[in-house]
């Protein structure tokens, strides 16, 4: 029984990480229609830029994190402008765009490996505390991960509800054709969405760097979880991404209580299947 609390807390923390990833990924998909698998390596770019800023430039961690987030947003926007936009303009079938996205995933992953080497990068100078919750220990990084979800989630919700761009994004998610008809510059909004979505993943990436370090292929599993959590919650829904991420994190973590941890990924898929059989469009719909 005393295992349960740490497992639960661990599930919430991992879930917060998945939820952040799902938010950015789902926002990009729901607004632009692009299943952006290269979201994974773009996220990795943020981790590497943060690492580089800390260890090579000796920048304070928060500044380095900013570099990572901005760099990641720029790479995300570049992938839209240089690649996806062309296919979207030519009305390419979604399948083609999916293949393009997988190609970009391989490309960026390899480029990271070439630029930084394939060994793990860690930051050791970033210090953080340990806290007791009941009998369980949580680290400062874990708290930041949860805090990041809360801040980004609330911030994004406010942005979507109260700003002009937020309403354009909701309009595009609802009806792309009508968005064009009312004169929304859908390409400019798509660019902004790629920037925001990627930037959000950059926050998650910088924290994971501190917690686990960075590897060139770290994006594979990240985009996989982003996709899973977003689909479980309902693609493009903000509360859905939060719920999907937390459910995934909790089920995975609590599952280990009874079965071997080898089953973690299988459990994640189990959740996906069960939710989708029950609710084919995910738990939530729309913002």
């Amino acid at each position: 029984m005393e295992l349960l609390l740490p497992l639960f807390l661990n599930g919430v923390v991992n879930g917060a990480h998945y939820a952040l990833l799902a938010m950015g990924f789902g926002m990009i998909f729901a607004t632009t229609g692009v299943v952006h698998f290269a979201y994974g390596p773009v996220y990795a770019v943020a981790a590497y830029l943060t690492w580089w800023s800390v260890t090579v430039l000796s920048l304070p961690f928060l500044v380095a994190m900013g570099v990572g987030i901005v760099g990641c947003a720029v790479v995300g926007m570049a992938s839209y402008v240089l690649l996806y936009r062309w296919f979207l303009r030519n009305d390419s079938p979604p399948f083609i765009i999916l293949v393009v996205s997988l190609g970009l995933l391989m490309l960026i992953t390899n480029l990271i490996g070439v630029a930084f080497g394939t060994n793990a990068k860690t930051v050791n100078d970033v210090t953080y505390g340990f806290y007791f919750i009941g009998s369980a220990v949580v680290t400062g990084v874990q708290l930041w991960q949860v805090l990041a979800l809360v801040v980004v989630g609330l911030g994004l919700a406010a942005f979507m509800k109260w700003t002009a761009y937020g309403s354009y994004i909701r309009a595009m998610q609802d009806n792309m054709l009508m968005a064009k008809i009312v004169g929304i510059n859908t390409e400019r909004v798509s660019l902004v969405v790629f920037g925001i979505g990627s930037g959000i993943s950059g926050i998650a990436a910088s924290l994971i760097l501190v917690k686990e370090g960075a590897l060139p292929h770290m994006g594979f599993l990240a985009v996989f979880y982003a996709f899973l959590a977003a689909v479980v919650g309902g693609l493009g829904s903000l509360p859905g991404a939060v719920a999907g991420g937390l459910i995934l994190g909790l089920v995975e973590s609590l599952g280990v209580w009874r079965v071997s941890s080898d089953w973690q990924t299988t459990i994640a898929f189990g959740v996906l299947f069960i939710v989708l059989i029950w609710r084919p469009t995910g738990l939530w719909k729309g913002y």
Partner: protein
Amino acid sequence: MINNAILKVLDVSVDHGNRRVVDSISFDVLRNKILLVLGHNGAGKTTLVRSIFGLHPIAAGEVQYNDKPITNRSTEENVKNGFSFVPQGHGVFRSLTVEENLMLGTTHVSEQKKIRERLETVRELFPILSERRAQKAGTMSGGQQQMLAIGIALMQGPDLLVLDEPTIGLAPRLVNQVVESVVKIKETLGLSVVIVEQNIQASLPVADGVVILKTGRKVYDGAPAPLADHNKLMEYF
């Protein structure tokens, strides 16, 4: 001589893939008049008006708006310049409220005073939209959604309004209501209007001019009166 046409369509052709769907069509839309565009299913009416508005590329020919070329201009530029479009089907944002829908019509309007005035005009024209302002558009009836779609376009403050089959799928009573509201809009706001229609009965009486398409070609361009004769009309279908 003052040019009385707000929109000039000159030998416009449009393709879907390799197929020419609109073939070298020309017509004028006169100021403060209603032009009716008729044609059988698949004649190319939607393709034509969508291309003029910038939603689909024009392969050949030219479009002039207020005597300036606007061929293949973006929808954003058209809306900014007073050219609005109401698409076929329910041209609304279903998951957003009525109010949010209307406000999306003001994407390029910054003056609060104009926004308030237009909101007032739209609510006077369609009182149901002010009763249902907090309701999700997707939960309204087809007729109400059509009124909202027209309302969104009016929020843009257009000089030229193009409507693609605004009465499709509506009950007969609503068909007349929508057609009447379009006439009222034209008269009170001084708009120029293009209506694409299949419902000839309801729309012919309010038209000032008629263009008929048949498999992508123009087969009639003239006054509505001769078409009141059913046999004459059927020649063009």
